[in-house]
């Protein structure tokens, strides 16, 4: 259902406020009034208005100054200024300062209706534009879901059946398996597809930043909060919110999140007004939430609230039959992006890819193919274009010691175990190198 357009009328004359209020209410708009600029700015800071209709000449702060402040607060606000015939020059100044239009008092009823209708149309168009942008990006990303294996078919079937419902979904899988793509696919196939899909990477934000990111904040709520800001829950109204790395959120955030999921209402940081939003929640994690619940690290009630449907994405090593399809897809994708002719991959390289365990999953495969296209001969991807040689980063490295051991071994091999040349290359003395060889139990035949 189309949302009612809201109008704020700012005029110091009561009769003008009342007349306009009645006029717009009869036209089906949602109307609020303010008798001066200061009150109007307070209202604008705490609520959202689509159109602000303001008199230029008011005691105290005039309409022009108010317009500048509104524009500083909300760049895209639609402000229409009302002026007496004698002050048309001032109205022109207002247009230069970003006013949408002006009307001369008293107005012809038809002029006023036209003006508001045009402004409403612009609001609807920009909302539609935003929706279409989201739709396009969502559907683009669904095309990245490649796979013909039984495991992947099962996942896609689950996506299809869960998309039409409104249930919360948890997507689990190792890093790089494409959890966000699955979330996009669910959103793009749901009835919410024409509304935003808002993603939040919980692991990348501190607790206070995450709170502000999710719930929004009021101007002055904390140092650096220069403007009112909508939170992700508010942005996801009528759409879907995707919370990635959900297992990383703090206990305090778990409680707050649970409350929001239960009531679908929240208060902006530093605010006191409850805001409601109709969103669907999809979460993702590469950790075992159930065992986190058992260990008391993750709230059980939140777990059950989120885990209505669980979609588990298999790692790439468990669906090796999908590798050729994925390779072909990434070759096409990157050749197109880099404006190169379509190339192929030789059998030896493909066989090697099939044998590799891909701890970084599809993301790792994608990076490999992109790199191979960049450094290759432009005709065929061969084994030498793939990072399985000496320059390949060993994914078994988990600590500094592992790294040091691997690096020293690499340099020793490079100089055929010539200790003097290796020590010189490593910029250490021979004794230190011998100690390291001993410490890591390195041998020439390794």
């Amino acid at each position: 259902m189309a949302r009612k357009i809201s109008i704020l009328i700012v005029d110091d004359e009561e009769s003008v406020r009342d007349s306009l209020n009645n006029w717009f209410v009869e036209d089906g708009y949602q109307v609020e009034v303010a008798e001066n600029a200061r009150k109007a700015l307070q209202l604008i800071e705490s609520s959202q208005y689509d159109i602000i209709l303001a008199d230029i000449k008011m005691p105290g702060m005039d309409g022009l100054e108010m317009l500048r402040r509104i524009k500083a607060l909300k760049q895209d606000a639609i402000v229409i200024v009302m002026t007496a015939f004698a002050s048309v020059n001032t109205a022109v100044m207002a247009l230069k300062d970003g006013a949408y239009d002006y009307v001369t008092k008293p107005f012809d009823p038809d002029d006023l209706s036209h003006l508001i209708r045009n402004a409403s149309k612009q609001i609807e168009l920009s909302q539609e534009n935003e929706t279409l942008k989201n739709k396009v990006s969502s559907l683009d990303n669904v095309e990245d879901l490649i796979g013909n294996s039984e495991a992947m078919k099962k996942v896609l079937k689950q996506v299809e059946s869960v998309a039409q419902s409104n249930s919360s979904v948890i997507i689990t899988g190792e890093s790089g398996t494409g959890k966000e793509l699955i979330a996009r696919a669910i959103h793009a196939n749901s009835s919410r597809k024409y509304y935003p899909l808002v993603s939040v990477h919980c692991g990348a934000l501190t607790e206070s930043l995450l709170e502000s990111e999710l719930f929004g904040h009021e101007k002055g709520a904390f140092t650096g909060a220069m403007y009112n800001r909508k939170g992700r829950f508010e942005m996801a109204d009528s759409g879907t919110i995707f919370l990635d790395e959900i297992a990383t959120i703090s206990s305090k955030m778990q409680i707050e999140l649970l409350r929001v999921l239960e009531t679908k209402t929240f208060v902006r940081v530093g605010g006191n007004k409850e805001t409601s939003s109709d969103f669907r929640v999809i979460c993702a994690t590469n950790r075992d939430l159930k065992s986190m619940v058992e260990q008391g690290i993750f709230r059980e009630d939140l777990y059950y609230r989120l885990n209505v449907v669980n979609i588990s994405i298999p790692p790439l090593r468990e669906r090796v039959e999908d590798i050729p399809l994925l390779v072909d897809y990434f070759i096409k994708k990157y050749c197109t992006t880099m404006n190169k002719p379509h190339i192929t991959i030789d059998d030896a390289a493909m066989q090697r890819l099939g044998e590799y365990p891909f701890p970084g999953n599809i993301r790792e495969l994608e990076n490999m193919i992109e790199r191979a296209i960049v450094i290759g001969n432009g005709k065929k991807i061969t084994l030498k274009d793939l990072p399985f040689g000496k320059d390949m980063i060993d994914n078994s490295i988990e600590s500094l010691d592992d790294f040091e051991k691997s690096f020293i071994r690499q340099i020793l091999n490079k100089y055929s175990w010539n200790i003097t040349r290796t020590a010189k290359a490593l910029k250490v003395d021979r004794v230190t190198l011998y100690n390291k060889i001993k410490k890591y139990d390195l041998k020439p035949d390794e």
Binding site: S15, S19, N22, E26, P109, D110, S113
Partner: protein, 180 residues
Amino acid sequence: MTQQNITLISFGYLGKHFLEEIAQAVTREYTYPVIVKESHLDLNEFFDASRRQYNGNKLLTAVNAISNETALKTIGLFSVDLFIPILTYIFGQAFLNGQTGIASLYRLSNERYGIEPDDKLLLERFTKEVIHELGHTFGLIHCTTPVCVMRSSTYVEDIDQKDRGLCNNCRAHPGLIHGV
């Protein structure tokens, strides 16, 4: 017990036949009995010399003050040029979800626009205007259906485009409690 009615009060002579026709149309649309009265207000008190028009807000308040308690809704009928401070003119206005409205035929006649007089058309326009303002008193807002009487009209041509009656959507409005 007195049955609830819609009262039309004529301020100034509008013609008996004219008023009866409007009353019948209102009864047909809202199914309440309609009482037609004549009354008097000193219109000089409502005249704005700088605009050479009559203040619609003040007139609406005055009509509201004299409306009969037994009347469910009251519409004051005028033949003077109405304005409200922010608009150059109005055909009429009403308290949304209230008891009272006003309407004027001043800007509805063909002569006002230099066209041949047409009394039948004038009656038709005024009837629509009265039914429209009554709709507001029942809580109806402007409708987007082209032929609905509740469609907003800022020119007489707009009034001519619409019908006398409410569209099905407006008719189903919960505020619209029909009479017998």
